[in-house]
Amino acid sequence: MIRTENLTKVYRMGEVEVQALRDVNLEIQDGEFIAIIGPSGSGKSTLLNMIGCLDKPTSGAVLIDDINTGKLSENELAEIRREKIGFIFQQFNLIHTLNALENVALPIFFAGVRREKRLKRAEEQLVKVGLEDRIYHKPSEMSGGEQQRVAIARALSNDPEIVIGDEPTGNVDTEAGNAIMDILEGLNREGRTIIVVTHDADIAARAGRTKRMRDGKVLD
Protein backbone atom coordinates (compact mmCIF):
# COMPACT_ATOMS: atom_id res chain seq x y z
CA MET A 1 0.00 0.00 0.00
CA ILE A 2 1.15 3.53 -0.81
CA ARG A 3 0.11 6.42 1.43
CA THR A 4 1.02 10.10 1.38
CA GLU A 5 0.65 12.18 4.53
CA ASN A 6 0.34 15.95 4.10
CA LEU A 7 2.77 15.66 1.22
CA THR A 8 4.07 19.12 0.32
CA LYS A 9 6.64 20.21 -2.23
CA VAL A 10 7.81 23.78 -2.60
CA TYR A 11 10.21 24.84 -5.36
CA ARG A 12 12.18 27.93 -4.57
CA MET A 13 13.60 29.93 -7.45
CA GLY A 14 15.21 33.02 -6.00
CA GLU A 15 12.41 35.12 -4.52
CA VAL A 16 9.62 33.09 -6.08
CA GLU A 17 8.12 30.06 -4.36
CA VAL A 18 6.10 27.53 -6.32
CA GLN A 19 3.81 25.28 -4.28
CA ALA A 20 3.88 22.21 -6.52
CA LEU A 21 2.11 19.99 -3.94
CA ARG A 22 0.00 21.16 -0.98
CA ASP A 23 -0.81 18.72 1.82
CA VAL A 24 -1.65 15.80 -0.44
CA ASN A 25 -3.22 12.84 1.36
CA LEU A 26 -3.71 9.89 -0.92
CA GLU A 27 -4.00 6.16 -0.39
CA ILE A 28 -3.37 3.61 -3.13
CA GLN A 29 -4.14 -0.03 -2.37
CA ASP A 30 -2.01 -2.94 -3.55
CA GLY A 31 -3.09 -4.12 -6.98
CA GLU A 32 -4.99 -0.93 -7.81
CA PHE A 33 -4.91 0.73 -11.24
CA ILE A 34 -5.17 4.47 -10.70
CA ALA A 35 -5.08 7.30 -13.24
CA ILE A 36 -4.19 10.85 -12.25
CA ILE A 37 -5.48 13.67 -14.44
CA GLY A 38 -5.43 17.43 -14.22
CA PRO A 39 -4.28 20.57 -16.01
CA SER A 40 -0.67 21.27 -16.84
CA GLY A 41 1.30 22.52 -13.83
CA SER A 42 -1.13 21.03 -11.32
CA GLY A 43 1.61 18.90 -9.73
CA LYS A 44 1.00 15.45 -11.27
CA SER A 45 4.64 14.79 -12.18
CA THR A 46 5.80 16.13 -8.86
CA LEU A 47 3.51 13.70 -7.05
CA LEU A 48 4.72 10.73 -9.10
CA ASN A 49 8.36 11.70 -8.48
CA MET A 50 7.73 11.69 -4.72
CA ILE A 51 5.95 8.33 -4.82
CA GLY A 52 8.66 6.93 -7.09
CA CYS A 53 11.39 8.01 -4.62
CA LEU A 54 13.03 10.17 -7.29
CA ASP A 55 12.76 13.31 -5.18
CA LYS A 56 12.31 14.31 -1.55
CA PRO A 57 9.28 16.17 -0.15
CA THR A 58 9.61 19.59 1.47
CA SER A 59 7.35 18.34 4.27
CA GLY A 60 4.99 15.44 4.87
CA ALA A 61 5.77 11.85 3.99
CA VAL A 62 5.43 9.04 1.47
CA LEU A 63 4.92 5.61 3.02
CA ILE A 64 5.40 2.49 0.93
CA ASP A 65 4.24 -0.66 2.74
CA ASP A 66 4.33 1.43 5.93
CA ILE A 67 7.97 2.36 5.46
CA ASN A 68 8.52 6.11 5.67
CA THR A 69 10.74 6.74 2.64
CA GLY A 70 11.90 10.07 4.08
CA LYS A 71 13.81 8.15 6.75
CA LEU A 72 15.81 6.06 4.28
CA SER A 73 19.39 6.63 3.16
CA GLU A 74 20.34 7.38 -0.44
CA ASN A 75 21.42 3.79 -1.00
CA GLU A 76 18.21 2.39 0.49
CA LEU A 77 16.18 4.68 -1.75
CA ALA A 78 18.16 3.46 -4.76
CA GLU A 79 17.34 -0.09 -3.73
CA ILE A 80 13.59 0.71 -3.53
CA ARG A 81 13.70 2.31 -6.97
CA ARG A 82 15.50 -0.72 -8.27
CA GLU A 83 13.48 -3.53 -6.69
CA LYS A 84 10.02 -2.22 -5.80
CA ILE A 85 9.21 0.42 -8.40
CA GLY A 86 9.29 0.51 -12.17
CA PHE A 87 9.22 4.04 -13.55
CA ILE A 88 8.14 4.88 -17.11
CA PHE A 89 8.83 8.36 -18.47
CA GLN A 90 7.03 10.32 -21.14
CA GLN A 91 10.36 10.76 -23.00
CA PHE A 92 11.25 7.03 -22.72
CA ASN A 93 14.71 7.98 -21.38
CA LEU A 94 16.55 4.99 -22.78
CA ILE A 95 20.37 5.02 -22.76
CA HIS A 96 21.12 5.60 -26.42
CA THR A 97 24.52 3.90 -26.42
CA LEU A 98 22.94 0.62 -25.35
CA ASN A 99 20.67 -1.67 -27.40
CA ALA A 100 17.19 -2.77 -26.27
CA LEU A 101 18.41 -5.85 -24.43
CA GLU A 102 21.15 -3.96 -22.61
CA ASN A 103 18.78 -1.17 -21.64
CA VAL A 104 16.39 -3.66 -20.13
CA ALA A 105 19.25 -5.50 -18.42
CA LEU A 106 20.62 -2.31 -16.82
CA PRO A 107 18.52 -2.35 -13.61
CA ILE A 108 19.35 -6.06 -13.19
CA PHE A 109 23.01 -5.16 -13.71
CA PHE A 110 22.79 -2.63 -10.88
CA ALA A 111 21.23 -5.38 -8.76
CA GLY A 112 24.46 -7.34 -9.28
CA VAL A 113 22.95 -10.31 -11.14
CA ARG A 114 25.30 -12.39 -13.29
CA ARG A 115 25.46 -11.75 -17.00
CA GLU A 116 23.77 -14.84 -18.52
CA LYS A 117 20.97 -14.78 -16.00
CA ARG A 118 20.53 -11.08 -16.46
CA LEU A 119 20.36 -11.20 -20.25
CA LYS A 120 17.91 -14.12 -20.09
CA ARG A 121 15.62 -12.17 -17.77
CA ALA A 122 15.90 -9.07 -19.94
CA GLU A 123 15.01 -11.06 -23.03
CA GLU A 124 11.93 -12.50 -21.31
CA GLN A 125 10.74 -8.98 -20.55
CA LEU A 126 11.20 -7.91 -24.16
CA VAL A 127 9.22 -10.94 -25.33
CA LYS A 128 6.50 -9.99 -22.88
CA VAL A 129 6.11 -6.51 -24.45
CA GLY A 130 6.20 -8.04 -27.94
CA LEU A 131 9.66 -6.90 -28.99
CA GLU A 132 11.35 -10.28 -29.49
CA ASP A 133 12.56 -9.17 -32.94
CA ARG A 134 13.95 -5.80 -31.76
CA ILE A 135 16.35 -7.16 -29.14
CA TYR A 136 19.57 -5.80 -30.66
CA HIS A 137 18.16 -2.53 -31.94
CA LYS A 138 19.48 0.74 -30.63
CA PRO A 139 16.85 3.25 -29.40
CA SER A 140 17.53 5.41 -32.48
CA GLU A 141 16.55 2.45 -34.65
CA MET A 142 13.07 2.07 -33.11
CA SER A 143 9.74 3.90 -33.27
CA GLY A 144 8.45 5.90 -30.29
CA GLY A 145 5.97 3.15 -29.42
CA GLU A 146 8.69 0.51 -29.54
CA GLN A 147 11.01 2.62 -27.43
CA GLN A 148 8.30 3.06 -24.84
CA ARG A 149 7.73 -0.70 -24.75
CA VAL A 150 11.48 -1.16 -24.18
CA ALA A 151 11.16 1.35 -21.32
CA ILE A 152 8.28 -0.72 -19.89
CA ALA A 153 10.33 -3.89 -20.18
CA ARG A 154 13.13 -2.08 -18.35
CA ALA A 155 10.71 -0.96 -15.64
CA LEU A 156 9.63 -4.60 -15.21
CA SER A 157 13.09 -6.12 -15.23
CA ASN A 158 13.42 -6.44 -11.46
CA ASP A 159 9.79 -7.62 -11.10
CA PRO A 160 8.48 -4.54 -9.19
CA GLU A 161 5.23 -4.42 -7.23
CA ILE A 162 4.52 -0.88 -8.37
CA VAL A 163 4.63 0.48 -11.92
CA ILE A 164 4.50 4.27 -12.33
CA GLY A 165 3.98 5.97 -15.69
CA ASP A 166 4.26 9.74 -16.17
CA GLU A 167 2.26 10.23 -19.39
CA PRO A 168 3.59 6.96 -20.85
CA THR A 169 1.39 7.44 -23.94
CA GLY A 170 2.08 11.16 -24.27
CA ASN A 171 4.71 10.84 -27.01
CA VAL A 172 3.20 8.04 -29.12
CA ASP A 173 0.21 7.81 -31.46
CA THR A 174 -3.20 6.43 -30.41
CA GLU A 175 -2.57 2.93 -31.66
CA ALA A 176 0.78 2.61 -29.87
CA GLY A 177 -0.82 4.25 -26.83
CA ASN A 178 -3.50 1.57 -26.75
CA ALA A 179 -0.87 -1.15 -27.02
CA ILE A 180 0.92 0.38 -24.05
CA MET A 181 -2.30 0.51 -22.08
CA ASP A 182 -2.96 -3.17 -22.94
CA ILE A 183 0.41 -4.04 -21.45
CA LEU A 184 -0.28 -1.98 -18.32
CA GLU A 185 -3.68 -3.67 -17.89
CA GLY A 186 -1.98 -7.04 -18.19
CA LEU A 187 0.48 -6.04 -15.48
CA ASN A 188 -2.40 -4.95 -13.29
CA ARG A 189 -4.06 -8.35 -13.75
CA GLU A 190 -0.79 -9.93 -12.53
CA GLY A 191 -1.46 -8.07 -9.27
CA ARG A 192 0.84 -5.08 -9.68
CA THR A 193 -0.12 -1.61 -8.57
CA ILE A 194 -0.29 0.72 -11.57
CA ILE A 195 -0.22 4.53 -11.30
CA VAL A 196 -0.41 6.59 -14.50
CA VAL A 197 -0.65 10.27 -15.22
CA THR A 198 -2.47 11.11 -18.45
CA HIS A 199 -4.15 13.91 -20.35
CA ASP A 200 -6.21 11.47 -22.39
CA ALA A 201 -9.76 10.82 -21.09
CA ASP A 202 -10.04 7.50 -22.99
CA ILE A 203 -6.91 6.24 -21.35
CA ALA A 204 -7.99 7.43 -17.91
CA ALA A 205 -11.26 5.56 -18.46
CA ARG A 206 -9.38 2.25 -18.60
CA ALA A 207 -8.10 2.70 -15.04
CA GLY A 208 -9.96 1.34 -12.03
CA ARG A 209 -10.01 4.74 -10.31
CA THR A 210 -9.32 8.29 -11.48
CA LYS A 211 -8.04 11.15 -9.35
CA ARG A 212 -8.05 14.78 -10.48
CA MET A 213 -5.41 17.32 -9.40
CA ARG A 214 -5.48 21.12 -9.39
CA ASP A 215 -3.02 23.66 -7.96
CA GLY A 216 -1.01 21.04 -6.12
CA LYS A 217 -4.06 19.42 -4.51
CA VAL A 218 -5.76 16.11 -5.14
CA LEU A 219 -9.52 16.71 -5.49
CA ASP A 220 -12.06 14.29 -4.03
Binding site: N49, G52, L54, D55, K56, E74, N75, A78, E79, R81, R82, E83, F87, F89, N93, L94, I95, H96, T97, L98, L106, P107, F109, F110, A111, R115, R154, A155, N158
Partner: protein
Protein backbone atom coordinates in the same frame (compact mmCIF):
# COMPACT_ATOMS: atom_id res chain seq x y z
CA UNK B 1 33.17 -6.46 -14.31
CA UNK B 2 33.50 -7.24 -18.03
CA UNK B 3 30.15 -5.51 -18.53
CA UNK B 4 31.37 -2.35 -16.94
CA UNK B 5 34.33 -2.29 -19.32
CA UNK B 6 31.97 -2.91 -22.19
CA UNK B 7 29.66 -0.08 -21.14
CA UNK B 8 32.57 2.29 -20.65
CA UNK B 9 33.95 1.32 -24.03
CA UNK B 10 30.58 1.88 -25.71
CA UNK B 11 30.15 5.35 -24.33
CA UNK B 12 33.74 6.27 -25.17
CA UNK B 13 33.14 5.13 -28.73
CA UNK B 14 29.78 6.86 -28.91
CA UNK B 15 31.36 10.19 -28.06
CA UNK B 16 34.20 9.71 -30.44
CA UNK B 17 35.11 13.34 -31.04
CA UNK B 18 35.11 14.23 -27.35
CA UNK B 19 37.08 11.11 -26.44
CA UNK B 20 39.65 11.77 -29.14
CA UNK B 21 40.12 15.31 -27.84
CA UNK B 22 40.62 14.06 -24.31
CA UNK B 23 43.06 11.38 -25.42
CA UNK B 24 44.89 13.96 -27.53
CA UNK B 25 45.31 16.26 -24.55
CA UNK B 26 46.83 13.46 -22.52
CA UNK B 27 48.99 12.29 -25.43
CA UNK B 28 50.51 15.74 -25.92
CA UNK B 29 51.30 16.24 -22.23
CA UNK B 30 52.79 12.79 -21.73
CA UNK B 31 54.70 12.86 -25.01
CA UNK B 32 56.27 16.17 -23.96
CA UNK B 33 57.44 14.71 -20.65
CA UNK B 34 58.71 11.44 -22.07
CA UNK B 35 60.52 12.99 -25.03
CA UNK B 36 62.16 15.82 -23.11
CA UNK B 37 63.37 13.52 -20.36
CA UNK B 38 64.66 10.92 -22.81
CA UNK B 39 66.56 13.53 -24.80
CA UNK B 40 67.93 14.95 -21.55
CA UNK B 41 69.27 11.56 -20.53
CA UNK B 42 70.64 11.04 -24.04
CA UNK B 43 72.52 14.34 -23.97
CA UNK B 44 73.98 13.54 -20.61
CA UNK B 45 75.06 10.11 -21.77
CA UNK B 46 76.59 11.46 -24.99
CA UNK B 47 78.75 13.98 -23.21
CA UNK B 48 79.77 11.97 -20.18
CA UNK B 49 80.37 9.05 -22.56
CA UNK B 50 82.89 11.07 -24.54
CA UNK B 51 84.49 12.28 -21.35
CA UNK B 52 84.62 8.81 -19.85
CA UNK B 53 86.52 7.59 -22.89
CA UNK B 54 89.23 9.99 -21.75
CA UNK B 55 88.97 9.14 -18.08
CA UNK B 56 92.61 8.11 -17.77
CA UNK B 57 93.77 11.64 -18.59
CA UNK B 58 95.01 14.34 -16.28
CA UNK B 59 95.39 17.86 -17.67
CA UNK B 60 98.13 19.88 -16.05
CA UNK B 61 98.09 23.64 -16.57
CA UNK B 62 100.36 26.39 -15.27
CA UNK B 63 97.67 28.48 -13.72
CA UNK B 64 94.50 28.60 -11.64
CA UNK B 65 90.92 27.88 -12.50
CA UNK B 66 88.56 30.00 -10.47
CA UNK B 67 84.97 29.49 -11.43
CA UNK B 68 84.82 29.54 -15.20
CA UNK B 69 88.01 31.52 -15.84
CA UNK B 70 91.54 30.30 -16.23
CA UNK B 71 94.41 32.57 -15.26
CA UNK B 72 97.80 31.58 -16.65
CA UNK B 73 100.65 32.10 -14.20
CA UNK B 74 103.61 31.20 -16.45
CA UNK B 75 104.95 28.03 -18.00
CA UNK B 76 106.42 24.65 -17.05
CA UNK B 77 110.07 23.86 -17.57
CA UNK B 78 111.81 20.76 -18.95
CA UNK B 79 112.73 19.98 -15.36
CA UNK B 80 109.03 19.84 -14.42
CA UNK B 81 108.42 17.32 -17.18
CA UNK B 82 111.39 15.19 -16.09
CA UNK B 83 110.31 15.23 -12.46
CA UNK B 84 106.82 14.04 -13.42
CA UNK B 85 108.35 11.02 -15.09
CA UNK B 86 109.47 9.80 -11.67
CA UNK B 87 105.93 9.65 -10.28
CA UNK B 88 104.55 6.10 -10.15
CA UNK B 89 101.44 5.00 -12.02
CA UNK B 90 101.95 7.27 -15.01
CA UNK B 91 101.76 5.65 -18.42
CA UNK B 92 102.98 8.56 -20.46
CA UNK B 93 103.46 12.27 -20.42
CA UNK B 94 103.00 14.66 -23.26
CA UNK B 95 104.26 18.19 -23.07
CA UNK B 96 102.69 20.83 -25.25
CA UNK B 97 103.18 24.44 -25.86
CA UNK B 98 101.02 27.06 -27.52
CA UNK B 99 100.83 30.77 -28.13
CA UNK B 100 99.13 33.26 -30.38
CA UNK B 101 101.37 34.43 -33.21
CA UNK B 102 100.93 36.22 -36.49
CA UNK B 103 100.19 33.96 -39.44
CA UNK B 104 100.34 35.12 -43.04
CA UNK B 105 98.60 33.55 -46.03
CA UNK B 106 98.67 35.14 -49.47
CA UNK B 107 99.53 38.52 -48.00
CA UNK B 108 96.76 38.46 -45.42
CA UNK B 109 97.66 38.31 -41.75
CA UNK B 110 95.80 37.01 -38.71
CA UNK B 111 96.75 36.17 -35.11
CA UNK B 112 96.29 32.45 -34.56
CA UNK B 113 97.01 30.02 -31.73
CA UNK B 114 99.78 27.63 -32.64
CA UNK B 115 99.94 24.33 -30.83
CA UNK B 116 103.00 22.14 -30.55
CA UNK B 117 103.50 18.75 -28.96
CA UNK B 118 104.46 15.14 -29.31
CA UNK B 119 102.91 14.10 -32.62
CA UNK B 120 101.91 10.62 -31.37
CA UNK B 121 100.13 12.08 -28.34
CA UNK B 122 98.39 14.81 -30.31
CA UNK B 123 97.23 12.17 -32.77
CA UNK B 124 95.59 10.25 -29.94
CA UNK B 125 93.99 13.34 -28.46
CA UNK B 126 92.72 15.09 -31.56
CA UNK B 127 93.16 13.20 -34.82
CA UNK B 128 91.39 10.03 -33.67
CA UNK B 129 88.21 11.70 -32.39
CA UNK B 130 88.00 14.54 -34.94
CA UNK B 131 89.52 13.07 -38.08
CA UNK B 132 91.25 14.68 -41.04
CA UNK B 133 89.35 15.99 -44.03
CA UNK B 134 92.41 16.23 -46.26
CA UNK B 135 96.05 15.26 -46.23
CA UNK B 136 97.78 13.44 -43.41
CA UNK B 137 98.84 13.93 -39.82
CA UNK B 138 102.27 15.32 -38.74
CA UNK B 139 105.32 13.09 -38.47
CA UNK B 140 108.02 13.65 -35.85
CA UNK B 141 110.44 14.92 -38.52
CA UNK B 142 107.98 17.29 -40.20
CA UNK B 143 109.86 20.35 -39.04
CA UNK B 144 108.27 22.52 -41.73
CA UNK B 145 104.84 20.90 -41.91
CA UNK B 146 101.62 21.94 -40.17
CA UNK B 147 98.05 20.71 -39.81
CA UNK B 148 95.26 23.26 -39.52
CA UNK B 149 91.77 23.32 -37.96
CA UNK B 150 88.57 23.83 -39.91
CA UNK B 151 88.13 27.51 -39.09
CA UNK B 152 91.74 28.30 -39.93
CA UNK B 153 91.22 26.67 -43.31
CA UNK B 154 87.86 28.24 -44.10
CA UNK B 155 87.16 31.33 -41.99
CA UNK B 156 90.30 33.17 -40.98
CA UNK B 157 91.54 34.21 -44.39
CA UNK B 158 89.80 35.48 -47.50
CA UNK B 159 90.76 32.40 -49.41
CA UNK B 160 90.30 28.80 -48.37
CA UNK B 161 93.53 27.03 -47.39
CA UNK B 162 94.25 23.58 -48.78
CA UNK B 163 96.89 20.91 -48.46
CA UNK B 164 100.26 21.97 -49.90
CA UNK B 165 99.45 25.66 -49.47
CA UNK B 166 102.11 27.70 -47.76
CA UNK B 167 101.69 29.66 -44.52
CA UNK B 168 104.13 32.05 -42.92
CA UNK B 169 104.00 31.51 -39.18
CA UNK B 170 105.82 34.16 -37.18
CA UNK B 171 108.11 34.78 -40.17
CA UNK B 172 108.87 31.14 -41.01
CA UNK B 173 107.47 29.20 -43.95
CA UNK B 174 105.38 26.07 -43.34
CA UNK B 175 103.56 23.71 -45.68
CA UNK B 176 100.06 22.56 -44.86
CA UNK B 177 100.14 18.75 -44.79
CA UNK B 178 96.65 18.13 -43.41
CA UNK B 179 93.31 19.81 -42.65
CA UNK B 180 91.02 18.70 -39.79
CA UNK B 181 87.32 17.91 -40.15
CA UNK B 182 84.97 20.34 -38.43
CA UNK B 183 85.09 19.18 -34.80
CA UNK B 184 82.14 18.29 -32.55
CA UNK B 185 81.17 20.68 -29.75
CA UNK B 186 83.45 18.96 -27.30
CA UNK B 187 86.56 19.51 -29.45
CA UNK B 188 85.60 22.59 -31.43
CA UNK B 189 87.41 25.05 -29.17
CA UNK B 190 90.58 22.91 -29.10
CA UNK B 191 90.90 22.07 -32.77
CA UNK B 192 88.98 24.35 -35.16
CA UNK B 193 90.86 27.64 -34.61
CA UNK B 194 94.37 26.16 -34.15
CA UNK B 195 97.45 25.31 -36.13
CA UNK B 196 99.37 22.20 -35.04
CA UNK B 197 103.15 21.79 -35.31
CA UNK B 198 105.72 19.35 -34.04
CA UNK B 199 107.09 20.22 -30.59
CA UNK B 200 110.48 21.16 -32.00
CA UNK B 201 109.09 23.43 -34.69
CA UNK B 202 106.75 25.12 -32.25
CA UNK B 203 109.55 25.85 -29.81
CA UNK B 204 111.42 27.54 -32.60
CA UNK B 205 108.49 29.47 -33.97
CA UNK B 206 107.19 30.52 -30.58
CA UNK B 207 110.76 31.23 -29.43
CA UNK B 208 110.22 29.55 -26.09
CA UNK B 209 111.34 26.53 -24.13
CA UNK B 210 108.38 26.79 -21.84
CA UNK B 211 105.76 24.07 -21.74
CA UNK B 212 102.22 25.46 -21.43
CA UNK B 213 100.29 22.27 -21.05
CA UNK B 214 101.02 18.72 -19.95
CA UNK B 215 98.79 15.75 -20.59
CA UNK B 216 99.34 12.78 -18.32
CA UNK B 217 97.89 9.35 -18.96
CA UNK B 218 97.66 7.01 -15.95
CA UNK B 219 97.46 3.24 -15.80
CA UNK B 220 94.72 3.01 -13.20
CA UNK B 221 91.80 5.45 -13.31
CA UNK B 222 91.18 4.94 -9.60
CA UNK B 223 94.59 6.43 -8.84
CA UNK B 224 94.06 9.48 -11.03
CA UNK B 225 93.03 11.84 -8.22
CA UNK B 226 96.03 10.87 -6.08
CA UNK B 227 98.45 11.23 -8.96
CA UNK B 228 96.97 14.63 -9.82
CA UNK B 229 97.66 15.76 -6.24
CA UNK B 230 101.23 14.52 -6.46
CA UNK B 231 101.79 16.27 -9.80
CA UNK B 232 100.68 19.58 -8.31
CA UNK B 233 102.98 19.10 -5.31
CA UNK B 234 106.03 18.32 -7.43
CA UNK B 235 105.55 21.26 -9.76
CA UNK B 236 104.63 23.72 -7.02
CA UNK B 237 107.84 22.66 -5.19
CA UNK B 238 109.92 23.30 -8.30
CA UNK B 239 108.51 26.80 -8.65
CA UNK B 240 108.40 27.57 -4.96
CA UNK B 241 104.74 28.61 -5.17
CA UNK B 242 101.66 27.27 -3.45
CA UNK B 243 99.20 27.00 -6.27
CA UNK B 244 101.10 27.43 -9.42
CA UNK B 245 99.88 24.27 -11.18
CA UNK B 246 96.40 22.93 -11.69
CA UNK B 247 96.07 19.21 -12.40
CA UNK B 248 92.57 18.19 -13.32
CA UNK B 249 91.35 14.66 -13.86
CA UNK B 250 88.59 13.93 -16.36
CA UNK B 251 86.66 12.44 -13.47
CA UNK B 252 86.37 15.82 -11.77
CA UNK B 253 85.34 17.37 -15.08
CA UNK B 254 82.59 14.79 -15.42
CA UNK B 255 81.40 15.64 -11.93
CA UNK B 256 81.33 19.29 -12.90
CA UNK B 257 79.24 18.38 -15.95
CA UNK B 258 76.93 16.32 -13.74
CA UNK B 259 75.84 19.48 -11.92
CA UNK B 260 75.20 21.24 -15.20
CA UNK B 261 73.11 18.30 -16.34
CA UNK B 262 70.98 18.35 -13.25
CA UNK B 263 70.14 21.94 -14.08
CA UNK B 264 69.41 21.16 -17.74
CA UNK B 265 67.25 18.21 -16.76
CA UNK B 266 65.44 20.38 -14.23
CA UNK B 267 64.64 22.91 -16.96
CA UNK B 268 63.45 20.16 -19.32
CA UNK B 269 61.24 18.63 -16.65
CA UNK B 270 59.92 22.11 -15.87
CA UNK B 271 58.93 22.66 -19.49
CA UNK B 272 57.34 19.22 -19.58
CA UNK B 273 55.47 19.96 -16.36
CA UNK B 274 54.03 23.13 -17.86
CA UNK B 275 52.97 21.14 -20.92
CA UNK B 276 51.32 18.62 -18.62
CA UNK B 277 49.52 21.28 -16.60
CA UNK B 278 48.15 22.81 -19.80
CA UNK B 279 47.14 19.34 -20.97
CA UNK B 280 45.54 18.61 -17.57
CA UNK B 281 43.38 21.69 -17.80
CA UNK B 282 42.26 20.49 -21.22
CA UNK B 283 41.56 17.02 -19.88
CA UNK B 284 39.60 18.40 -16.93
CA UNK B 285 37.60 20.56 -19.30
CA UNK B 286 36.68 17.71 -21.62
CA UNK B 287 35.90 15.41 -18.69
CA UNK B 288 33.71 18.09 -17.15
CA UNK B 289 31.91 18.61 -20.44
CA UNK B 290 31.45 14.92 -21.06
CA UNK B 291 30.00 14.37 -17.59
CA UNK B 292 27.74 17.41 -17.87
CA UNK B 293 26.57 16.22 -21.24
CA UNK B 294 25.53 12.99 -19.61
CA UNK B 295 23.86 14.36 -16.53
CA UNK B 296 20.57 13.25 -18.05
CA UNK B 297 21.90 9.72 -18.51
CA UNK B 298 23.14 9.69 -14.93
CA UNK B 299 19.68 10.77 -13.78
CA UNK B 300 18.09 7.93 -15.73
CA UNK B 301 20.47 5.40 -14.28
CA UNK B 302 19.73 6.61 -10.78
CA UNK B 303 15.98 6.61 -11.47
CA UNK B 304 16.09 2.94 -12.42
CA UNK B 305 17.99 2.03 -9.29
CA UNK B 306 21.72 2.81 -9.67
CA UNK B 307 23.48 3.90 -6.48
CA UNK B 308 25.78 6.93 -6.56
CA UNK B 309 28.62 4.47 -6.21
CA UNK B 310 27.54 2.54 -9.33
CA UNK B 311 27.46 5.72 -11.39
CA UNK B 312 30.75 6.97 -10.02
CA UNK B 313 32.56 3.71 -10.73
CA UNK B 314 31.28 3.66 -14.31
CA UNK B 315 32.58 7.13 -14.95
CA UNK B 316 35.89 6.53 -13.25
CA UNK B 317 36.38 3.38 -15.27
CA UNK B 318 35.66 5.36 -18.39
CA UNK B 319 38.07 8.14 -17.57
CA UNK B 320 40.80 5.72 -16.56
CA UNK B 321 40.40 3.82 -19.82
CA UNK B 322 40.69 7.08 -21.74
CA UNK B 323 43.72 8.07 -19.67
CA UNK B 324 45.39 4.72 -20.12
CA UNK B 325 45.01 4.89 -23.88
CA UNK B 326 46.25 8.50 -23.81
CA UNK B 327 49.18 7.56 -21.59
CA UNK B 328 50.27 4.64 -23.75
CA UNK B 329 49.92 6.58 -27.00
CA UNK B 330 51.65 9.56 -25.36
CA UNK B 331 54.62 7.38 -24.40
CA UNK B 332 54.76 5.99 -27.95
CA UNK B 333 54.66 9.45 -29.48
CA UNK B 334 57.13 10.67 -26.86
CA UNK B 335 59.65 8.04 -27.94
CA UNK B 336 59.24 8.99 -31.60
CA UNK B 337 59.55 12.71 -30.82
CA UNK B 338 62.59 11.99 -28.64
CA UNK B 339 64.28 10.23 -31.56
CA UNK B 340 63.50 13.18 -33.81
CA UNK B 341 64.69 15.72 -31.26
CA UNK B 342 67.91 13.86 -30.59
CA UNK B 343 68.58 13.69 -34.31
CA UNK B 344 68.13 17.46 -34.55
CA UNK B 345 70.25 17.97 -31.43
CA UNK B 346 72.99 15.75 -32.89
CA UNK B 347 73.02 17.77 -36.09
CA UNK B 348 73.13 21.05 -34.19
CA UNK B 349 75.79 20.09 -31.67
CA UNK B 350 77.95 17.68 -33.63
CA UNK B 351 77.70 15.24 -30.73
CA UNK B 352 76.23 11.83 -31.19
CA UNK B 353 73.13 12.14 -29.05
CA UNK B 354 70.82 9.17 -28.86
CA UNK B 355 67.60 9.50 -26.84
CA UNK B 356 67.59 7.16 -23.87
CA UNK B 357 64.11 5.86 -23.04
CA UNK B 358 64.16 4.66 -19.46
CA UNK B 359 61.44 2.22 -18.39
CA UNK B 360 60.77 4.29 -15.28
CA UNK B 361 60.04 7.32 -17.47
CA UNK B 362 57.51 5.28 -19.49
CA UNK B 363 55.88 3.84 -16.37
CA UNK B 364 55.89 7.27 -14.75
CA UNK B 365 54.32 8.79 -17.87
CA UNK B 366 51.48 6.27 -17.87
CA UNK B 367 50.99 6.68 -14.12
CA UNK B 368 50.81 10.47 -14.44
CA UNK B 369 48.28 10.14 -17.28
CA UNK B 370 46.10 7.86 -15.16
CA UNK B 371 46.31 10.11 -12.12
CA UNK B 372 45.47 13.27 -14.06
CA UNK B 373 42.70 11.56 -16.03
CA UNK B 374 41.06 9.86 -13.08
CA UNK B 375 41.31 12.88 -10.81
CA UNK B 376 39.84 15.19 -13.41
CA UNK B 377 37.09 12.67 -14.10
CA UNK B 378 36.41 12.20 -10.41
CA UNK B 379 35.22 15.67 -9.48
CA UNK B 380 32.50 16.10 -12.13
CA UNK B 381 31.43 12.45 -11.87
CA UNK B 382 31.02 12.71 -8.12
CA UNK B 383 29.08 15.91 -8.46
CA UNK B 384 26.77 14.36 -11.03
CA UNK B 385 26.32 11.15 -9.05
CA UNK B 386 25.16 13.18 -6.05
CA UNK B 387 22.39 14.95 -7.95
CA UNK B 388 18.83 13.92 -7.26
CA UNK B 389 17.48 11.69 -10.05
CA UNK B 390 14.71 14.14 -11.05
CA UNK B 391 17.09 17.04 -11.22
CA UNK B 392 19.48 15.02 -13.38
CA UNK B 393 16.76 13.60 -15.64
CA UNK B 394 15.36 17.11 -16.26
CA UNK B 395 18.79 18.20 -17.42
CA UNK B 396 19.12 18.50 -21.17
Amino acid sequence: MIDKFLMAYRSIRERRARSILTVLGIVVGIAAIVSLMSVGYGMEEAITGELTAMADLISVMPGKITGATYVELGGFTDRDVKDLQRIGGIKDISAMTYDAVEVEYRNKRAPIFVFGGDTKELEGFYVEPVGLKEGRWLRENDYKGCVIGDRVANDFFDEVIQVNDKLIINGEKFIVVGVFEKASTLYAADVDPHIFLTLRASKEVLQTDEVKYIMVRVYDIDEAEEIAEEIMEVINDNHGLDDFATAMTMGSMIELMGDIFNIIRGVLVGIAAIALIVASIGIMNTMLMSVMERTHEIGVMKAIGAKSRDVLSLFLLESSMVSLVGGVLGCGLGVIVAKGLSFVASMASGLEIEAIVKPEVILGGIAVAMIVGVLSGFYPARKASKMSPVEAVRYG
